[in-house]
């Protein structure tokens, strides 16, 4: 049977992708940030799952206001980098895993999650930047990927609790998949940031730290946050943090934190990264 191999939370800031794509890692602005990634990348080089479920949001790339689904699973065998307005990122095509993706869909719908299925879903920085964070710039991504796209833009987003519960159901689905493979799950987006309005630039490091602490020690506390809590405390785009709850829900009740890195600022955002492993 398949098993849950590891979890990771990471912001998916487009500027990180641009810095890698344009070789800026050595610049003053970026040095401290990329140094902080090194232990994570070393860990990922040694600890490679077969498939990663990447929980992310689309940023007006694949999906528009015309059709907004709360949770969408990509069931294709490949996902092209999206043109987000300045041509697609020159990164490898993302290879899917249709068999596990369909198993997830079946298990989740029978468990009363009202999933959407997509067979044509170009993936934007929300999904490809986390791959760059973990694996830098290889000729091919070293893992297969199942994109799980969450509506975090249009109110009402799914609740923090619903996201955690979806993670729990994903864990059950992974454990009922018949092939002996390792499956990791990444929650992406956040941490605190507000891109828009007169309050643009707001950062709340205390909130971010408590959120990451809770992910380790008290994940249920993070399920009690309301939409207004996230928007008020973590900024209007900070609500992306609900996607970390999906990742956490898919881990065991007790986890070990293997690595944490927090860096302010990256562009207009507080960058956070956390690697989790089920406790024995």
């Amino acid at each position: 049977m398949a098993k849950v191999f590891s979890g990771m939370g990471t912001s998916h800031i487009p500027a990180v992708g641009a810095a890698i794509d344009h070789g800026k890692q050595g610049e003053d602005y970026w040095q401290g940030y990329f140094k902080g990634l090194e232990p994570a990348r070393a860990w990922h080089a040694q600890n490679r799952p077969d498939v990663v479920i990447i929980v992310y949001n689309d940023h007006a790339s694949a999906f528009s206001l015309e059709q907004i689904s709360t949770f969408t699973i990509g069931v294709s065998d490949k996902f092209l980098p999206a043109d987000e307005g300045y041509g697609p990122r020159k990164v490898p095509v993302v290879q899917g895993h249709p068999a596990l993706a369909w198993h997830l869909v079946e298990s989740l719908v029978l468990d009363e999650f009202d999933m959407a299925i997509s067979n044509n879903m170009p993936v934007d920085h929300g999904l490809t930047v986390p791959l760059s964070v973990a694996y830098d710039a290889p000729a091919e991504w070293p893992v297969k990927v199942i994109p799980l796209c969450v509506n975090v833009i249009q109110y009402p987003q799914p609740t923090a609790k619903r996201c955690h519960d979806l993670g729990v159901a994903i864990r059950k689905a992974i454990h009922s998949y018949g092939e002996d493979i390792n499956v990791s799950i990444w929650g992406t987006g956040g941490l605190s940031h507000q891109l828009q309005g007169e309050r643009a630039g707001v950062i709340n490091s205390d909130f971010d730290t408590v959120f990451m602490d809770n992910l380790v020690n008290d994940p249920i506390a993070n399920t009690k946050l309301t939409h207004a809590d996230f928007i008020r405390e973590a900024g209007s785009e900070g609500i992306e943090m609900i996607m970390w709850n999906i990742m956490r829900g898919a881990m065991a009740p007790k986890v070990e934190e293997l690595y944490r890195f927090y860096h302010v600022p990256v562009s207009n955002t507080a960058y956070g990264l956390q690697i989790l492993k089920d406790s024995e």
């Binding site: 487009p14 500027a15 940023h59 007006a60 790339s61 528009s64 206001l65 015309e66 999206a82 043109d83 987000e84 307005g85 300045y86 041509g87 833009i153 249009q154 109110y155 605190s192 507000q194 891109l195 828009q196 309005g197 007169e198 309050r199 643009a200 630039g201 707001v202 950062i203 709340n204 490091s205 205390d206 909130f207 309301t226 939409h227 207004a228 809590d229 928007i231 008020r232 405390e233 209007s236 785009e237 302010v264 600022p265 562009s267 207009n268 507080a270």
Partner: protein, 137 residues
């Protein structure tokens, strides 16, 4: 909307923030759909060739139209724009998120000041949780 807002979802009290709720969705639909169209290289070329003619294809109010043509970044948000969408115009113009951030601050903040504010740890949350608490500075 003829509906009562759950008290925990009172977004009105948050300063300087345009939440993408139902009213915002409805007001900004045409504007945001125009922005999204710039994902396509052919559309970008058309917009470049004649901005005013290109946006006439979309269902936008005169105020939205002017806000786009004048790059009134804050105005676009106030008229229903969503930053994930309006940023497509910034990308088209070659602006980055901090440059747009400064312009949206509504205080005539310079890019260099915005940049320095971020290097200093970002806009402080203290004083910026509720309207009237401070000047959002």
């Amino acid at each position: 909307m003829m509906t009562e807002v759950a008290p925990e979802n009172d977004f009105e009290s948050i300063p300087g923030t345009y939440v993408q709720d139902a009213a915002h969705y409805q007001n900004g639909y045409g504007l945001n759909m125009f922005c999204m169209s710039l994902n396509n290289a052919e559309n970008r070329a058309k917009f470049k060739a004649d901005e005013a003619a290109y946006i006439d294809q979309f269902d936008m109010s005169p105020a939205q139209r002017s806000a786009v043509l004048e790059r009134d970044w804050l105005g676009m948000l106030q008229l229903g724009g969503n930053i994930y969408y309006t940023f497509k115009i910034a990308a088209f113009d070659g602006l980055n998120m901090q440059q747009v951030g400064a312009k949206m601050s509504g205080t005539g903040m310079r890019f260099e000041d915005f940049q320095q504010m971020m290097l200093n740890g970002g806009r402080p949350i203290d004083g910026n949780r509720y309207k009237g608490e401070s000047d959002n500075g």
